[in-house]
Symmetry: C2
Subunit: 286 residues, 2 copies
């Protein structure tokens, strides 16, 4: 336990010193993966009843303490892809990434860390969220070659304010700017993401910021019945997209099918596995 | 303890049977007040260090368990006004309400119930939130003479969806409709309120729904130092009001001064003590 939390604490320090996209953060992430995967290899697995079509889930287990649900196929596929993921990030060699392999590897790492925290620090939601934010923020920073900001100034006639936001990646004058909110899951809080996008559109002009939300999963575990459900509100998302603001992409690690379907109907919302970011990004910033 | 939770449970049942604005809910609320105030009269009080200008706070105490902070002046003033508050609600006689007396009485009741739950069910945030929602929803229902809805249909060309919302009071064809979100405190979640208002404006047309947010307080207690602070983000509220949607009123029980000031500068946001709702409402629905 102390190893995992110590490594996690060192990432936060290294990030402040060297930047979120630095080689130093990458090497801490790799170290964290080694610690968590070795910890989890000693844990028992509990099969779960999946109410999610086409997906099977299990939880890691220590005594009676049970982790969040884990997509079995995705997790197992991810184990094989971890080394490639770290290599792609290390060499910034993103052309050869296989989207499905990268998504699975990223899922394996992120959900594995979350499971460790579930088992070791019951009720702690903040640590998993912070690590996921660091991981996704790091991937964007490596791919785009720039560091994110978390505050932007608003200058507007006689008022001046500082707007705290999710990650902002600014590619420079006349170039694309990314607005990157990161959530382990969304539920009813997701309307915040559209509201922040609306604020950026209003303050700086529509089309200046490309909103790309990144989420891990929408699964929920009933700990009594050991049943996994997926909580999705696709018709509400469509209303947000029509009436509040437009998100350019939404990426998932464990992509819920009801959200994937939103890409098939007008008005389209493009919800895809995270690995497709690398194929999308060139056309988005072109 | 069981008395308080039993009475609370009966309110929820009575509300479903008779309606939120019914005499039956009112009489349950009165009974709940008696139970909570008798419970609190036996609790010790802990003085707190107030970092909020011009306000003093204390907490109720049982052993080492401490309640949320309570505005002393407002709470004490409220004790005297409780009977009048129940009479005004009983007789729907709102012309004679003194805004400051009503606000204090309402605060006394609501924060008193929250304090009981803090002491009896540590970590339970949901029960205080639900009671506060019932209380405020009841007051609106008594004053407006109608029951609220919590779902509205969206019919839009080829799509049909049901939009879950906060309370909606619809005074009828061609008349005002109130959008009433209720929060014990707001913090960073408050952007949701503006986003929902924006959605209503977009779906039904701007000006159709009068957004009136009701909050209890913005205080936060440091349980180690026994210090009370007030967390306010007035410049962010101004951005939300300028760029997301327009709320017509925001009412507080324990009104933070930085928010009250928002009424003095353009673009104005009218943030007032709850009791002023009764004076405001006639001009709002005129």
């Amino acid at each position: 336990m102390t190893d995992i939390l110590k490594t996690f604490a060192s990432i936060k320090k290294v990030r402040t010193q060297h930047g979120l996209g630095s080689d130093e953060v990458l090497s801490c992430l790799r170290q964290l993966y080694e610690t968590t995967s070795s910890f989890l290899s000693k844990c028992a697995r509990q099969e779960l009843t999946s109410k999610v079509g086409g997906k099977t889930y299990f939880s890691f287990l220590i005594g009676k303490v049970i982790s969040r649900p884990i997509n079995e196929t995705l997790y197992n596929a991810g184990t094989d892809g971890i080394e490639s993921m770290f290599h792609f990030l290390q060499d910034r060699n993103f052309e050869e990434v296989s989207p499905s392999e990268f998504t699975a590897a990223c899922y394996n790492f992120a959900v594995g860390f979350c499971a460790c925290i579930d088992l070791l620090k019951k009720g702690d939601q903040k640590t998993p969220g912070t690590l996921f934010e660091i991981l996704i923020g790091h991937i964007y920073a490596r791919r785009l070659g720039i560091e994110p900001n978390r505050n932007i100034d608003v200058l507007n006639l006689d008022m001046r304010a500082s707007l705290p936001t999710d990650f902002i990646y600014d590619l420079g004058e006349g170039k694309a700017k990314f607005h990157l909110p990161v959530k382990t899951s969304t539920r009813e809080r997701v309307v915040q993401v559209w509201a922040h996008q609306r604020l950026l559109d209003g303050v700086y002009g529509t089309g200046r910021f490309l909103g790309t939300l990144v989420c891990m999963t929408e699964t929920k575990l009933d700990r009594e019945k050991l049943e996994v459900v997926e909580i999705c509100l696709p018709s509400q998302w469509r209303l947000y997209q029509m009436y509040i603001a437009q998100l350019t992409r939404i990426y998932y690690l464990d992509l819920p099918d009801p959200y994937r379907q939103l890409g098939n109907e007008f008005p389209r919302i493009h919800v895809r596995p995270l690995g497709e970011f690398f194929a999308d990004v060139d056309s988005l910033i072109a």
